[in-house]
């Protein structure tokens, strides 16, 4: 099974940013930990700060992957364009957030991109990614 993990703006800074909200490990460590924990799955990690580059990668995901995990960062709340790209994609899609959005600023309550995914996981720091893998694996088993 092949999973693409797309990470939006500022997630390259993980580990430096506010640790109460985001945890204190970097995106690389999250990637390494997932590979150890789920050795049978092939992971590709992608990060960009540019909205349109994220759309480019989403558009191509269907060809090569069995599932998508996306942490859209700040674009989760504003990008109709990413939402449109996700809604075309037919593989299983899980949106993840490191922080617990419900307890943050009002403008993080509006979820534009999540509406084009199968569901979302929010609030468990790096475990949000692991839970998403758990979900994709089990969807895959049932098919």
């Amino acid at each position: 099974m092949k999973i693409l993990v797309i990470n939006g703006p500022n997630l390259n800074l993980l580990g430096k940013r506010d640790k109460d909200q985001y945890g204190n490990i970097s995106l690389e460590e999250i990637s390494d930990n997932l590979k150890k924990e789920f050795p049978d799955i092939s992971f590709d990690f992608y990060q960009s700060n540019i909205e349109g580059e994220l759309i480019n990668v989403i558009q191509l995901a269907e060809r090569d992957y069995d599932g998508l995990i996306i942490n859209p960062g700040g674009y989760a709340h504003t990008s109709v364009a990413i939402a449109d790209a996700l809604s075309v994609l037919k593989i299983p899609k899980v949106e993840v957030h490191l922080s617990h959005l419900v307890n943050r600023e009002y403008y993080r309550q509006k979820l534009i991109t999540a509406a084009s995914c199968d569901g979302y996981v929010s609030g468990f720091k790096e475990l949000s990614y692991g839970a998403a893998v758990y979900i994709l694996m089990n969807i895959s088993k049932k098919r």
Copy 2:
């Protein structure tokens, strides 16, 4: 590890209700499947349609359990009282929803109880429960 799984109003009807939204297996089957999948964990399932009874059970959870999974059903959007009960409780707490709330009625967008949990998982039908167990197990490992 002992996990309490609290289920709110109408979840006793699972399997009869709108299958597109909720999946077609019953609460008992969810319970059985979790026990098979996670044999090292002890699960107690509780269901009630009565808001105050759910509060009674939440208040007692800390004594006997290492983690809580709660699917508050319709009370997720209205019950300040359940939110207050959850915020007193100090064990890890995961709110789960079978359906994808973001794509449903406007009055399901307001999340009152989730704000008193560590995070939430929404949209993956019975897999939402499994993902919650995955999360609680890993929180437990780190402590």
Copy 3:
């Protein structure tokens, strides 16, 4: 034909409460009057102040009744949980209100439970119940 008439919080006080809004006869008198006016129909009246008990009764209604009349009292405007229970029930359902909600407090304009019924009747004091019976009888005739 068997009709279940469910009455929510404070309707046990009928006849004592503000008579301009609710009329001056009690729930028992409403029940007696309906039985006299519609001798061919069997009526069961149920009243509770507890949200979850009302849900319990709604869940069981399908087995024994051909139609449901519900006056949810104050829960009409707040209970997503009762709305969910009603939406599972497949027999004809009519929501009734004694008072004319359109002319009352703003928080009585939001109708959560009515959306899960076939329609509603509001404003005619005890006649709202009679009109509901008229409707259920005629739906039954057409089937």
Copy 4:
């Protein structure tokens, strides 16, 4: 007893319009059915697409009728002028809607004209008219 039944814009098209919402019988058939079902009552049916003509007829209703049934169609949600005309009229008034407004567009949730009636019935297709007659008959008996 004499009842005037006023019907607003597009109700002359009944039977051609979206049948899920409005039922599949015409205004003439509703009129005929009511006359058969309630032979002791004299009915006059009036329909117009023009707001001001409806007001003209409402203003004259008090002289000749014992009760009014009004289905204001789309004007139910916008016409302060019809509401003003109804509030002057002292005979019993019932507003009816064929469709279940609570489950339709947001702009059908605002009820301007209903506030000037004694109450309203919504959602039971042609039965909404019959229930209104039932209510007017019983109000008349009590006087």
Copy 5:
């Protein structure tokens, strides 16, 4: 091909009204220009200030015409009744506006009637009508 062009309130004043918003030619000139530009199409122009008369004409349009162009003027933002009439009509329908609504008063941002058409054209003064004819002609060709 026969096209009916319905014009709402105050469009009989065209050419006298604020020229920045509406352009400086009259409705008659628009009609004449369209007939010259599209000689193969038969046009009927109708104008009324009365909401219900517009509904009367819309209801009859299906019998005699292949397409409808409507400029509802001020009723575009308030008339649920015209919207209902349009939604029954099955021929292609284009709503046009001379002025650019997006840059005008807040109460011109709510589009009630456009929702019952196939689409709308706004902001190009008399060219909005021509563009609507272009669209109806091409829809007609594809059928």
Copy 6:
């Protein structure tokens, strides 16, 4: 000096309607009193319940009158079409209301047509008309 006084829906009922809000004299008496009080001015009174007929009369007013008084009744709060007609008219225009709008229903707080007049007078029962005449006379003197 010639003044046209246009009265909207239900003002033909003046004297019968709620006297606390509107005073207890009829439109005819208002007309007679103005003619006695201002013998040098020629008044024409017009009343209609039909929105489009009011627009027709407004469109023609410029030709024959030096000033306009309009009491749009319920259309004051909903009619973009009357507002559009008024904004084309270049003679002085005063909107009057018998009742004190600020202390009435929320939907009477939105003033659509007043924005196309020079100003408005509200709350002084029949004196609102007299004050409007006073204003038009003085505007006329200054020119």
Copy 7:
């Protein structure tokens, strides 16, 4: 007859301020003109920029005057305290505005103090004061 004319903040600048909105004569000239036009009436003009001083004067008005004209300036939209003072006062009260509030900033649409007067006149520059005198004179005649 004795009339008190209270003027709120910045009205001492009249004639210097934006002339399109407020006209080009000063408060003194308004006072002089009223005294010439209504020689039988005794006028006292008061102006202050201080909210509490305006309240002090309003509280004393009942003892010495038969009518009150108030132009509260910017306090019209914010001062609950002035509104409270006016509501205690039992003589006839007319609120006036020089400019046409309906066509100005959104925060000038909320009328707090007008609700405690008998009515208001808005938009006719200095004529708004004259119309208020006309109204107070006629109220006085009827008593």
Copy 8:
């Protein structure tokens, strides 16, 4: 004098919950302190987490008590049903809150049940109860 003190959901946890908001003494200690401070008054304390049970107790209070103190906890902001029960009750009623609601979450600003009491006291921790007793004693003296 007999006073009933009704306490809503989670107040049985008092002393364990967030001490900044609620103070650090238990409901039992509050009860004991009141009895010592006001030895001439008879107090009955009742606590339940269940909305309908609170309604049951409120309905019976009139028979046996001279005054009611209610701390509805989280139901203060959501329960139309408790508000309805309180509005039937004719003895003096004081709503109390331990915490200062004005400085808490937005959903604690909406006060549904307080509108059916004579007034409310908020923010003084256990002293809110004492102040309520002070008020009921003095109301009682005046009668």
Copy 9:
């Protein structure tokens, strides 16, 4: 113990104003009654209609008093400046209202100044002041 009691605009009129809302005794009588009821406490009463004078007095209160009672009248809902002054003051502060704000106009629901006090008491007419003294005395005892 020394308590300063600050009273805002129009409270000098107490006893003349609407007696249903405010009770029928004057501010002097409230002052006299408190002095009789609490002979060990020294009270200073201050009243002004001017916002800035109230701020001046609040700024000086810390030097000479052990507690503050403030009834800000209409400024409770609008004055950010008084709220700022109160938040600097470190002695215990209780806001009181004679009337029951929850049941009054919408613009009295916004509490700006209360947020800078320790809590508030609303609805018990003159008893609101007594309850505030009770609270300040008991806060003082605990220190």
Copy 10:
């Protein structure tokens, strides 16, 4: 005449995306069809998913083109930056949408970029582009 046609995010997927909304032909086919239908016009098609690249192209358009057609996709509803770029551009500009925005999600009702164009066409699938060309041609003729 030279026309630049700018297409925003996800329009490169046309033909694969939801065909009910967008029609079933690709962007290339739209381009080819326009060139056949309007052989005298020179068209350049540009597509990008990246907001800033679209801005770059818009900024350069004035130099080489006589008219602009823009379908901003999801950026139509969020991009103040694209709106700013368009407002600098002085050639005629038409915004087009394939789908009928009025009948879609609430967040597609806000039109940010359209306000900087001359007008817009929405709802006619590929014909929206053709209508835009028709409009630009005719604007060009008049100059």
Copy 11:
């Protein structure tokens, strides 16, 4: 060059108030520091807690000063009257705030008075004043 620096309510307390928001130096020290830093400029500092006194001073500023700096304190968010006074004044005007308003209470987001200034500076504690002087000096140079 002569600059008037007007300071609103509670700014006389500077140095005592919450130091995180406002910095820890007094208004006198700000005044002294500016005079040292800009020895060629003549500064007059004025402070009052009374809204109307601030208006009085603003009205007189034009006669004697070349520029105005205003920190309206809490009145920045509520005073239409101060805004009106500022809009009459023709010398350059800069509004300053010590604290960073964007990160404070929602009611500090509404800026009423700033709209009548040339611009504003917010968030840099005492440096906000210095930046305002820098701006006024440079505006002066260009003239």
Copy 12:
């Protein structure tokens, strides 16, 4: 001292855009003027229309600069992603706007990115940049 000046979309057009809002000098001239006025400071100017490129540059600023000035253009009101990037950066940050945002479109009132800066300056055209330099210099002196 080294200062990075980041400029968002369309600021490369400065001097061509609406001169009332933005002034008539180009970004290059602003840069040159600052270098002349502050010869001891080293400035780097960066401009991009692409949201993600701005984020890339912000992320790197900490390494090489002592202070940041950012004019985010249209992204100021929509970009949660830029706000997140700024909040990680620990050097002093000043947001500047050439135009006076308070007097512009409603969608320019929401300030997303400013919340992650130390403060902002708005409305003084090119002087806004100079004031920001003044502020950064003085912050630097105090450290």
